[in-house]
């Protein structure tokens, strides 16, 4: 029996956008759940609804239908400022996630009730030097900036991290370092992660469970190992074949 707490849950999440006068479905009745300390991978091609789902989860946008729950408390349509109390987001564009005119220290000090001691602790935890706090985003490397972004998320003392293609702009070595850091943080802080990526190979290394999205619908979900080794859906098989072809 699974005794882990379901920390985040979505039921029948539906979202449609207007495009050229007609409605296009971005998400079609999606169900998902995230257990405490779990890493849930969400994969799919561009336009499959991955980023839209993250926008719904963090409150940037409101779903047309469906409900979202944090620890069984519904928060559908809650303001993004409220969701920030239990989840934070790490963005694909690490540089763009910091105000270009502010130093890292200024950006991190913006978080409510945060002290300089806390910042220095977290900076150490994510493997960065305190001197980097005096720099502006463009004065850091991509990997350093992404670690700063993770540090900012951790400073909010949240339970959930939403990671939106966070390694796609990094080189392979830095990708591996960031993945290692996320695994350490999960182990040490008990964080739960929603890890959005189009990189199935990366998802297979990092995630406990995976959801495969196509045209806003979940076509396959389950334990990562099972989905990767014994895919049932043709679309998942196609994604895997592409990974194998590229690897070969």
């Amino acid at each position: 029996m699974n005794d882990k707490i379901t920390i985040l849950r979505g039921q029948n999440i539906t979202k449609k956008y207007k495009s050229n006068g007609r409605k296009v479905q971005a998400l079609g009745g999606l169900d998902f759940s995230l257990q405490q300390g779990e890493i849930l991978g969400i994969v799919g091609e561009s336009g499959s609804g991955k980023s839209t789902l993250l926008k719904m989860i963090c409150g940037m946008e409101k779903p047309d239908e469906g409900q979202l729950f944090h620890e069984n408390e519904e928060y559908t349509g809650a303001h993004i400022g409220k969701t920030g109390g239990f989840l934070q987001m790490v963005f694909q564009d690490a540089y763009g996630s910091f105000d270009p005119r502010m130093t890292m220290k200024q950006s991190l000090l913006e978080i409510q009730h945060v002290t300089m001691d806390e910042i220095l602790d977290i900076i150490k935890k994510v493997g960065l030097e305190p001197e980097l706090l005096e720099r502006k985003p463009r004065q850091l490397s991509g990997g350093q900036c992404q670690r700063m972004s993770i540090a900012r998320a951790l400073l909010s003392h949240v339970d959930i991290l939403l990671c939106d293609e966070i390694t796609s702009a990094l080189d392979v070595t830095t990708q591996a370092q960031v993945v290692k850091l996320l695994l350490e943080l999960r182990r040490e802080e008990g964080l739960s992660l929603v890890f959005v990526s189009h990189d199935l190979a990366l998802v297979s290394q990092l995630c406990d469970r995976v959801m495969v999205l196509k045209d806003g619908v979940c076509v396959e979900a389950g334990d990562t190992k099972t989905v990767i080794t014994q895919p049932k859906n043709a679309y998942t098989k196609l994604l895997l074949e592409n990974v194998i072809t590229v690897s070969a």
Partner: protein, 270 residues
């Protein structure tokens, strides 16, 4: 293609020229050799001389001193009008761009409506209703001027709003006002400020134009537009009374337009 260095030189030169004009305006009372309001029946319409460098007008007043005093009126009225329009327009533009919705729609349609008429036509009508005077002229021009800044600020705000650091600030629980003032304003300020600089020349023409038509500064206050208007009646016998204030207007507009262009070129240079 111009190099960054040559553009920097152009920028410095134009800034120095603009600085000189501003200093002249500030110290006009010290620099003026005569009282610009002192009439002298014995010196009516005298040609430029060692005593009256720019000659005298129809009332025997020193044109050079009046041009210097006029610089203060014209330049500072222009700066004040541009500054007020800049603040109001930028604030409205940021609020519209950030919050969107019905207030955005209403204000932007109002801006469209205002821009549907030529600025000077609206200004003449409004200044006419307000009954003239420098404040009236400034209000008349300001009614249309804020829209330029509002539209520009709105457009830049909508772009900056999409940046992940704004989402991060929202997730950190920051209020809309905080995000607008701390994150959006500093990141859109540069292009809107440059636009404000390029508006100085146009605004100066507007203020002088309204004064020329008798809808701006009223006699006997020294202002370039009203000086030209007063002196045009006797332009054939005392052309200096028109040429010097007109020259001062042209030079000042050229300098500030040059400064605006230099800033735009310097900023846009790769």
């Amino acid at each position: 293609m111009k190099t960054k260095r040559s553009l920097k030189r152009k920028l410095i030169l134009s800034a120095v020229l603009a600085g000189i004009l501003i200093l002249i305006a500030i110290f006009s009372e010290v620099l003026a050799p005569n009282d610009p309001y002192q009439t002298n029946a014995a010196m009516i319409r005298k040609a430029p001389s060692a005593m009256y460098w720019f000659g005298t007008d129809n009332l025997g007043r020193c044109v050079f001193s009046r041009v210097l005093y006029g610089a203060k009126t014209t330049i500072f009225a222009t700066f004040l009008l541009v500054a007020i329009s800049f603040v109001i327009g930028t604030l409205i533009g940021m609020l519209c761009g950030y919050y969107g919705g019905i207030v955005d729609e209403a204000l932007m349609r109002l801006a469209d409506l205002t821009l549907a008429f030529p600025q000077m036509v609206v200004a003449i009508a409004v200044a006419g209703m307000l009954g003239g005077g420098l404040v009236g002229a400034m209000i008349a021009l300001g009614i249309t001027m804020w829209t330029t800044f509002a539209r520009l600020a709105r457009s830049h705000t909508r772009t900056v709003k999409q940046e992940p650091y704004i989402t991060a600030a929202k997730l950190s629980g920051k209020s809309g006002c905080y995000i607008i003032l701390r994150h959006i304003l500093p990141n859109i300020l540069e292009p809107v400020l440059i636009s404000a600089l390029t508006q100085i020349g146009t605004t100066m023409i507007g203020i002088s134009g309204l004064s020329f038509l008798g809808l701006g500064v009223v006699a006997p206050q020294a202002e370039w537009g009203s000086m030209i208007s007063e002196a045009r009646a006797y332009i054939q016998i005392a052309p200096w009374a028109v040429l010097f204030p007109a020259g001062a207007t042209i030079v000042t507009i050229i300098v500030f337009n040059y400064l605006g262009d230099a800033l735009v070129e310097y900023r846009n240079h790769p």
